[in-house]
Amino acid sequence: MFQENEVITLLIGTVGVVFVFIKRRVLAQSVPSWRWLLAAYFYLYIAWAFTVLEGLFLPRTFNVLEHTAYMLSSFLIAIWAIKALVAASEEEP
């Protein structure tokens, strides 16, 4: 049984993923350490997808996978934040 907010979140995330796919070249040039941020985004989107899936089948497994994806996404964004800020500080005159 899935919930409406989870589906809306997944839809919004899908829109975001499509946008990122279209603008991937621009974002790769604009965002420092873009790959880390992209990975964090990917795992977050996976988490949202597992959230929807756990409502349909294998609820325990997908729940664990969902939270694992959250955790990985959190770590990746932390790593990205640190790398991006360090890189920005190195570029300062």
Partner: protein, 682 residues
């Protein structure tokens, strides 16, 4: 705690770490929008993690609907993050682009301006610098205000046409007045742009003053070179690929053609066929770097059929990137004609020198070495030219007497010439030949030389000896003749003397005596002649003295009361004049002795003989201080034989006779020598 709770806790830790990092270090390093989005995102992530963790530990404080809303909000925040990144990047790109364009405009070598409605609305710093004004001074003013009055019309017309949308010259050069008063050349390229939504003209302005000055200098230089080439006495040609690509007007004039007739054709077409190969070889070899004549002379056929000689100096240059022959050409026809005439003249003089039968040599005045020597001289010396040239006459043993050579050289050095110098030369076959040398110091190419002409006078000498001997024989013979004539006259005188002894009549004996004295006067002349060195002349003063002595002895007056005074210069006289003159003297002295001093009267007979009028006229004076002629006697018409004889002889001499009978008798006779008088005696 369940495994999921642990995972949520770890997720919360990561999100919190990221939030702390962004909060503390993100300001100034991330864009404003990105920073805000991240803070919201990470706050939501932390809240999400906290709520999830609390839910796992059983202490949930928010209703499930709020938690669901936060999750949606979290997703929205995540989706906005890339948008914020792109927006931030666009702003940065736009800012950087503006900065780049500003940098381009401000750093461009060209000044940039925008003119709208006839006024500057934008002026770059560079343009203001070019004009010598500030940007503020130019903004709002018409571009025409900054131009020279002469060029205002050009820009004004273009602005009008551009504003009317008509075709217009987009690029032109005008002169602008700089703020410092100088004139600057500005190259302007106009283009149509839209400025603040309205049509405007974008001008790119470059200061080309230096370029213009250089162009002007180049143009003047080109004109000068063109003037030099076209007005030069020498013609100029450029030959490329075997054809003339340039011919100066002077060259065309020299060749008797027009420039158009020559350019594009091979120069070989204009040459004499015999000279074409010479130029062809040079034209082929020079571009190939092979040996070629830098200077040579060829004959050119003019259009009118005449020929001229051209002196060509060729050199290799690069013209339009191709090897080209540059020719400097001078018409040397006149020079060639002179050269030919000189060659012919030299040939003539060479022939005259070498073939001259006289012996001629050229010798250095300084070292005495033969410089040249002709065939006759070599033949006389028995030498080859190679053996003689470069050696001195002393080395060749030419002079028999070395001292003569020194004397000859001294004469030449002091006078510059010597004529008929006699010397003896040792010639071929060991024969010593007497020669006459005439020499003159001349200068050839600045070197002092002796031009000597040597004449072999051996035959002349032999002839001279023969003539001298013959002359001596004739002189001897002539003296003998005079001697014999004198002897014969003396015999006649002696016969008259003997005959007179048989005559008792005193007067008749006197006639004999007179005749005897006349014969003696002539005999005396012949005696003087054969005694003299010159058989044709006698010393007449000496003759008068001897004649007077004879007369005084003959008439027995020697040592008497009558004295004799002779005033005579030692003057020589030809025999043809001396004989009648001697007879005159004889008659006058005889008359004086016989008649001037009767009765033992004492007195003096004076005879004077001298030359007058620059030694052309003789004057003979015979006078005495005796009793003179009786009154009534016409001395010029006297019938006496003596005076008659005197008058006749004076007439024969062509002379004048003056007689004076005052205190004695005075006779003065003036006459010219026989040859000058033009009369023939006896």
């Amino acid at each position: 705690m369940s495994p999921v709770g642990i995972l949520d806790f770890l997720a919360l830790t990561g999100s919190a770490t990221a939030l702390i990092a962004v909060l503390f270090f993100g300001r100034g390093r991330l864009g404003r929008n990105t920073l805000t989005a991240f803070i919201i995102l990470l706050c939501l992530a932390v809240v999400h993690g906290v709520l999830g963790f609390m839910e796992r530990v059983g202490t949930s404080v928010l209703p499930g609907s709020v938690k669901d809303f936060l999750e949606v909000l979290w997703a929205v925040a995540w989706s906005l993050v890339p948008v914020s990144f792109i927006q931030t990047r666009s702003e940065r790109v736009l800012r950087e682009s503006g900065e780049r364009y500003r940098g381009l405009v401000e750093n461009s070598h060209a000044g940039i301006s925008v003119v709208q409605d006839g006024k500057f609305v934008f002026v770059s710093e560079r343009l203001a610098e070019i004009r010598g004004h500030t940007v503020d001074e130019m903004i709002g003013r018409s571009p025409l205000e900054f131009l020279l009055p002469e060029d205002v019309a050009i820009m004004e017309r273009n602005m009008l046409l551009r504003s009317a949308g008509q075709p217009v010259e987009e690029r032109y050069t005008v002169r602008a007045l700089h703020a410092d008063g100088s004139t600057r050349y500005l190259d302007i390229i106009w283009s149509r742009v839209t400025w603040c939504g309205k049509p405007a003209s974008l001008g790119n302005i470059v200061d080309v003053t230096d370029q213009k000055i250089i162009e002007q200098a180049l143009k003047e230089s080109e004109e000068r070179y063109k003037l030099l080439v076209e007005k030069s006495h020498a013609g100029v040609s450029l030959t490329q690929g075997g054809k003339l690509i340039y011919a100066s007007p002077r060259l065309a004039k020299i060749c008797g053609r027009s420039v158009e007739e020559m350019v594009g054709r091979s120069p070989l077409e204009f040459l004499h066929s015999e000279d074409a190969h010479l130029m062809e070889r040079n034209m082929t070899n020079r571009p190939a770097g092979l040996p070629a004549d830098d200077r040579y002379t060829v004959r050119v056929k003019r259009k009118d059929g005449t020929e001229c000689y051209l002196d060509i100096i060729g050199s290799l240059i690069t013209w339009d990137g191709k090897p080209t022959s540059l020719g400097n050409i001078v018409d040397v026809t006149d020079q060639k004609i002179i050269e030919q005439a000189l060659q012919e003249s030299e040939e003539r003089f060479r022939t005259v020198f070498y073939a001259n039968p006289e012996c001629i040599s050229l010798t250095s005045l300084e070292d005495g070495c033969f410089v040249d020597i002709n065939d006759s001289f070599l033949k006389m010396l028995g030498l080859n030219r190679e053996d003689a040239i470069g050696h001195t006459s002393l080395e060749l043993g030419l002079w028999k007497d070395r001292h003569s050579r020194e004397v000859f050289r001294d004469i030449l050095k002091s006078q510059g010439f010597a004529e008929s110098f006699e010397a003896d030369f040792a010639c071929a076959g060991g024969i010593v030949r007497p020669v006459l040398i005439s020499g003159r110091v001349i200068r050839l190419q600045g070197e002092p030389l002796i031009l000597a002409i040597v004449r072999d006078i051996m035959r002349l000498k032999q002839a001279e000896t023969t003539v001298r001997r013959s002359l001596e024989e004739k002189e001897t013979l002539l003296r003998e003749i005079h001697h014999r004539v004198k002897n014969n006259l003396q015999v006649i005188s002696g016969l008259l003397n003997l005959q007179a002894r048989y005559i008792n009549d005193e007067a008749s004996r006197g006639v004999y005596k007179d005749s005897q004295n006349r014969v003696i006067s002539m005999a005396l002349i012949h005696e003087k002649l054969y005694q003299a060195r010159d058989l044709s002349r006698i010393n007449f003063g000496d003759y008068i003295r001897h004649l007077a002595q004879n007369l005084f002895v003959s008439y027995g007056m020697k040592g008497g009361k009558v004295g004799f005074v002779l005033d005579a210069e030692p003057t020589s006289m030809v025999v043809d004049t001396a004989i009648p003159c001697g007879l005159i003297v004889n008659e006058l002295i005889s008359n004086a002795i016989k008649h001037a001093f009767p009765g033992g009267r004492a007195g003096e007979i004076r005879v004077s003989f001298r030359k007058l009028n620059g030694e052309k006229t003789y004057e003979l004076i015979v006078c005495d201080d005796g009793v003179g002629f009786p009154d009534g006697v016409d001395l010029y018409r006297s019938g006496s034989l003596g005076l008659k004889l005197v008058r006749i002889l004076v007439e024969q001499l062509g002379g004048t006779l003056k007689v004076n009978n005052d205190g004695g008798v005075f006779f003065r006779i003036r006459f010219k020598e026989y040859r000058e008088a033009g009369t023939v005696l006896m």
